[in-house]
Amino acid sequence: MHVPDGFLDVPTSLATGVVAAGAIAVALKKSRSELNEKAAPMAGLTAAFVFAAQMINFPVGVGTSGHLMGGALAAVLVGPWTAVLVVSVVMMVQALVFADGGLTALGTNITLIGLVTVLVGWSVTKLVLAVLPKRPASVVPASFVGALLSVPAAAAVFVLLYSVGGATELPFGALMATMLGWHTIIGLGEAFITAATVGAVVAVRPDLVYAARGMSQHLVLRTPDGQEIPATAVEVADEPRRSIWPLAVGGLGVTLVIAGALSFFASSNPDGLEYVAEDQGFIAAAEDSAVAGWSLADYGEVGGIPVGVAGLIGVGITILIGLVLFQLIARRDRDRDSVSA
């Protein structure tokens, strides 16, 4: 299910918004090496496919529903950077035109379904490809595993985000277990469809599959009597040397820092862990924690002015972190660009 408006509180929504915006900015720059003249319609078709795939809903426990994500498929077909753009476009259209997913939750949806699935899907695919023979067909099992792991990963990050800024406290452990369980099953479905699609495309049009680039044999042109013709034009797209790890570390790092920082500003209602702790009698031990001394540590629910202040501080910190990270990536990019230009 796409997260609607009001699901996560304002600081979390804004934080994920910053992460998403930063990721898109980076992806825009880096995808230029992936996109050629014919790749834009390929990206559009992938977007339409991802859109259609996300219509397939599975009822999940706890009154939510899960659905196919498509991030891994997009990454394998058009490359990780373009895939971030593709899934972001799908999220935007769904939110704007189909009212699927809140507009203020766009950052959250893009982070979860765009960033996490693409990241995990692509990294795992590359890992598996590294140990398989260098043939286009290897992309099929590799994308299977990548897609399989990408879905529960997104679910896990969702539970993490919810524990930080959810509309209300739900038992963390139970929520994580349920979500992971169901989404591993959904991951299986996603893996099959991803592998089937990639397999069909790579069999007929390997030139359309990004992950299979550089694996086909070099083409030799001949005259009618068999002599070799020297090729005048070389149209092999260079595999971008830039790694996706800076984005990975940056993006998840920001999210985790949010989780850490904001947990200091968490609501006065016991969260899942504390609830369990109270139950088990551990709460006495927590009383002396340094945090209790902070003036903002216990604050009223969203709606009171003190919360507004706490929220603003939280937002301020996360925006700052996001901007710094973005600047770091941008500067590194500029240096690389000027070297390789």
Binding site: S216, T223, I229
Partner: protein
């Protein structure tokens, strides 16, 4: 003497799956000529056409349009000079109205405002479709859509008009209307076609693409009269058609 409208030399190309379609194509077309490109299915005619405006690259050989090489840095001008009308008009008419479709090309060249309107009317006038300017393309008949597709390309004032199977699926009246339009245009024409009578009617010269090379380059009426040659390249005349007995309009 000005540069030929189209000059192709040593063009070779293979698909990503390894199948080689063109093995070294050489030919040249002068300004104002109307030439037919004949050949059996699968001979590589469409592949060849896609090289003329740089959509397909990555092989070997050279293509020049009025002296300008088809290369990445010249693509914008090349695509103005080479106007390709594809086989299926529905692939070319993708805007909500005829006006928008015809304006698409010149708008991409940076033309706007009243000059854009002029171009649209000029192009539609040349194909006899001026009064359909605000209609939706899917409300037109097939023959009308064909003519609008030609207009979408004419609006860019090309040097050479390349048509892929222009007469396919047209009823006899529409065929004649299109032939009249093509005859009236002051532009070089390269027509890919199976329709040998149409080639004879409109194109004094024909090229035969077979086995990935230009196998023959001769006046059309000579080629059509050589039965053995036609048979060798899987070209067939329609039932009852005798090229020698036809009053050719192209001569």
């Amino acid at each position: 003497m000005s540069a030929p409208s189209l000059d192709v030399s040593g063009l070779a190309f293979a698909y990503p799956d390894g199948h080689q379609a063109l093995f070294g194509v050489d030919f040249s077309i002068e300004r104002g000529e109307r030439v037919a490109l004949l050949g059996p299915n699968g001979a590589g005619k469409t592949t060849l056409v896609l090289h003329l405006n740089g959509i397909l690259t990555g092989g070997a050989g050279d293509v020049r349009v009025a002296g300008l090489a088809v290369a990445k840095e010249n693509l914008r001008e090349i695509r103005r000079r080479v106007g390709i009308v594809f086989q299926d008009p529905d692939d070319q008419l993708f805007m909500p109205t005829v006006r928008d479709d015809v304006a698409f090309g010149p708008a991409n060249l940076g033309i706007s405002g009243s000059e854009l309107d002029e171009r649209v009317h000029e192009a539609l006038g040349k194909v006899g479709m001026a009064e359909f300017v605000d209609r939706a393309p899917h409300h037109l008949s097939y023959g009308q859509r064909r003519r609008v597709a030609v207009a979408t390309v004419l609006a860019m004032r090309p040097e050479i008009l390349v048509l892929d199977e222009p007469s396919s699926n047209l009823d006899p009246a529409s065929r004649r209307e299109l032939a009249d339009v093509l005859r009236s245009l002051d532009v070089t024409v390269l027509m890919v076609t199976h329709d040998l009578p149409y080639a004879l009617e409109l194109c004094p010269r024909s090229l035969v693409l077979s086995g990935g090379v230009i196998a023959h380059d001769a006046p059309t009426h000579e080629l059509l009269a050589a039965e053995a040659l036609l048979a060798q390249h899987r070209l067939e005349l329609p039932f009852g058609f005798d090229p020698r007995a036809t009053r050719t309009g192209a001569l």
